[in-house]
């Protein structure tokens, strides 16, 4: 276990280094002098030198990187290029809880829907219900989110026109605003988790201990909940890392189309304003979230299934 933890910690450090270093480097490679842009029509060398120093651009590249990482550890993402001297942290702070809420709920929904759907399909293997679930989840998985969004919008619009209860098409503020974005974000992951849960349940159903449990005369309910579910759900755990990674790209699309003031929308707005430190900050936050999820998944998997020897 100690060896596993050491190796995991080393790879964690390498991933965090890669993420911050490449993000820093790409931000520094931007052509043009950001200070000149910041100064606008002001053209005196004193202000130039002062701003250059304020933004730390008068130091060597390595020094700048170390200071950047040091700042990150304290939750400091540097200063905005657009709003002189304003910390990036202030600009993105409001977006973080919003994106976490929407992403977290989408992840929860995909597990809560995918696990029962997959098990249900497996328990009725090769039946019409099974085929239906497999077909539906395949469609969920194959249709990109920005095709699903207009489809949901069209359905919602039709419901509105027919005088049925409908949801707001976009915006932010009320819980109803979250329904469509969460559905869109969850769709592909529901598809993936259902398929995974179905195949792992089918495998577990063939295992000896399930046959033993049945032979002991346990009720089907007990067999399914106590023996099948607990073992079949393990592969789903490994999916949480990749599922979060998928949500990260999804957040950009969904937050922009639904005008949700989360991290994805803040970055896209920052791109329009060429506020590169903000884009760097959001990239690192999103990347680190996925790194944390991946590490947690690995550790959890190890705890839940001591048979597994992780590389």
């Amino acid at each position: 276990m100690a060896q596993f933890l050491t190796r995991r910690a080393l790879s964690l450090i390498f991933v965090l280094f890669s993420l911050t270093f490449l993000t820093f480097l790409i931000g520094r490679l931007v052509p043009g002098d950001p200070i000149l842009v910041l100064m606008g029509p002001r053209r005196d060398p004193d202000t130039y030198a002062r701003l250059r120093h304020l933004y730390g651009l008068d130091r060597s590249l390595i020094e700048q990187y170390l200071r950047y990482v040091g700042g990150l550890l304290r939750g400091d993402f540097g200063l905005s290029f657009r709003y002189e001297g304003r910390p990036v942290r202030e600009l993105i702070a409001q977006g973080v809880p919003i994106s976490l809420l929407v992403g977290g709920l989408a992840l929860a929904l995909s597990v809560l829907a995918g696990v029962p759907l997959g098990m249900f399909a497996a328990l009725r293997h090769n039946s019409l219900v099974d085929r239906g679930i497999v077909g539906l989840t395949l469609a969920f998985y194959a249709v990109p989110s920005f095709v699903l969004i207009p489809l949901l919008w069209a359905l919602n619009l039709a419901a509105y026109r027919a005088g049925w209860p409908s949801l707001p098409q976009a915006g932010w503020g009320r819980p109803a605003h979250m329904v469509l974005p969460i559905l869109v974000l969850a769709a592909a992951n529901i598809g993936y988790i259902t398929r995974l849960m179905r195949s792992s349940t089918l495998e577990v159903l063939r295992d000896d201990y399930v046959r033993t449990a049945r032979a002991k005369g346990l009720r089907e309910r007990t067999v399914v909940l106590r023996h099948v579910l607990r073992n079949a759900i393990l592969p789903v755990l490994t999916m949480l890392g990749p599922a979060t990674a998928f949500l990260v790209t999804g957040a950009f699309v969904v937050e922009n189309l639904f005008t949700i003031p989360g991290i994805g929308r803040i970055s896209i707005e920052a791109i329009g304003q060429r506020d590169y430190p903000v884009i760097q900050g959001t990239t690192i936050i999103l990347g680190v979230t996925v790194v944390i999820m991946n590490t947690l998944t690995d550790l959890l998997y190890r705890v839940f299934d001591p048979r597994i020897e992780l590389e």
Binding site: S18, L19, L22, P150, L151, L257, T283, G287
Partner: protein, 290 residues
């Protein structure tokens, strides 16, 4: 038809129903995109002021957008862009990714360490995050200094940055496996040199796998390009791509659904066709993988 074609992977591909169907359909789509301007000579950027936001009619089979531009013509133009980006990105993935993976897997040692660490560094970015970052940071500067074609090249490069490490890792794994196989060990025992083994035994065995992996990855590239365009990081107006059409048409959904439906359906079909073809290729080249 020569008898050895029948038993070759290509023969298997053509004879499998899914493979044949997706090949024919894709060929049709590609021909439509390439020959589009010849058989449907309407300019995708010229507005028809008599038909603004029009429903499908005889003159505009899929209607027009809010500037009176023909939707079918724009769809064909967008399709060309999507396919062009896919082809170039996969070419880079194969030339850079597969070659580096081959080097890493076959020679091992410091080449492997260097290439694998470099790929690992890029893997630190989940999903399209790296592509979004690169396209965002350099986008405006590239357009201002080098124009629209260079901007498209930037999209290609940012998507290839995400794609090549996957290809390199896949090929490396396959080559590592092949290196242990009896026929390679036999060739080595017979005194064949590295380059000979590479050319005669390794390359023929991974070509099919690389083509399969690239075909399956086309789906990621098409969706990736559409995502970048949708975020305003891809191709810039007045040019268009499928993703851009969806995002431009979305606000007009209530008035003119065709503006979104046409690109959305096209994109879905394209994604499905490439995944079917990829699956059929995998079955043809690696019959044991099922």
């Amino acid at each position: 038809m020569r008898p050895d074609f029948q038993t070759s992977p290509w023969g298997r591909l053509v004879r499998s129903p899914l493979g044949a169907l997706s090949l024919v359909m894709l060929a049709l789509v590609i021909c439509a995109a390439l020959a589009g301007p010849l058989i449907y000579p309407i300019d995708p950027t010229t507005p028809d002021f008599a038909a603004i936001n029009a429903a499908p009619s005889l003159f505009h089979p899929l209607g027009t957008d809010r500037l009176g531009r023909d939707t079918l013509a724009r769809l064909l133009a967008g399709l060309r862009i999507s396919l062009l980006v896919a082809v170039v990105v996969e070419a880079i993935n194969i030339v850079v990714g597969a070659s580096l993976g081959l080097l890493a897997g076959f020679f091992g040692g410091w080449a492997d360490a260097l290439i694998s660490r470099l790929a690992d560094m890029l893997f630190a970015f989940p999903g399209l995050l790296l592509a979004i970052l690169v396209a965002a940071v350099f986008g405006a500067w590239v357009t201002e200094n080098y124009g629209a074609t260079a901007r498209l090249l930037l999209v290609v490069i940012s998507l290839a940055l995400v794609g090549w490490p996957l290809m390199a890792r896949y090929v490396r794994g396959q080559v590592l496996g092949l290196r242990q196989r009896d026929f390679v060990l036999a060739a080595r025992a017979l005194g064949q040199r590295d380059l000979g083994i590479l050319r005669l035994h390794i390359l023929p065995n991974i070509t099919g796998l690389v083509i399969t992996a690239a075909t399956l990855d086309v789906v990621n590239v098409i969706v990736g390009e559409a995502t970048l365009s949708l975020l305003g990081l891809g191709i810039q107006p007045p040019s268009t791509s499928i993703g851009k059409m969806i995002v431009e048409g979305a606000p007009l959904l209530a008035q003119n659904g065709m503006l979104v439906a046409a690109p959305a359906i096209t994109l879905t079909i394209l994604v499905l066709l490439f995944s079917f073809l990829g699956d059929a290729l995998r079955d043809a080249f690696d019959p044991t993988s099922r």
